[in-house]
Symmetry: C2
Subunit: 113 residues, 2 copies
């Protein structure tokens, strides 16, 4: 992890949550525990390697818990920890902004209506 140099809380948060996928990943885990392949289905364009790295980073930060069930075949499940659940507010406002952004970017279609 890169060092936070400005000491700013926004930077601290974005060092962990910035990037294309991590907050999206958290938003899917807010629905409940998921297996690796569930997450790949939710986000078909993330590479297996990137998904693994992002899950590990969230796990290292204590936001995601990885549970391995002793079954055959082995079952691995990811869920948000209580700390990870704290992100529901971040996800909610970012989603709200994203919705506005998507609507805003179709002005031609709206004008034509």
């Amino acid at each position: 992890m890169k060092k936070n140099v400005s000491g700013c809380s926004v930077e601290e948060a974005m060092l962990l949550l910035g990037g294309r996928w991590r907050l999206l990943l958290v938003s899917y885990l807010l629905d409940g525990p998921k297996r690796f392949n569930d997450l790949r289905r939710d986000m078909p364009n993330i590479s297996q390697r990137m998904l693994t790295l992002d899950l590990r980073a969230l796990e290292a930060a204590g936001l995601v818990l990885r549970t391995v069930y002793a079954e055959v075949p082995v079952k691995v499940e990811y869920r948000l920890t209580a700390d990870g659940q704290r992100l529901h507010k971040v996800v909610a406002v970012v989603k709200e902004f994203g919705l506005w952004l998507k609507a805003e970017r179709r002005p031609a279609a709206q004008d034509a209506a």
Copy 2:
């Protein structure tokens, strides 16, 4: 800009705001208009090139307005547009999460107190 493939609003927002600096940049512009060098002082570790690219991306998205004043030497100022001001809620919750994250990461120091 990469294409948003999942159609998800969180991804849409993070394509624009993800990365280490953009939301931090927005948070400084929430204080009021700034010149390029003010922003470099606020964020000493961002490279000049990165700051330029991030400002341009936010300008292209209609969130930041760049104003050139016909003075000698020329004065260039950046400010949030009304649309950019919409990000105050995102900045607020991300900052809140970052504050918690910073406190959380000093448990040893707190335990010793």
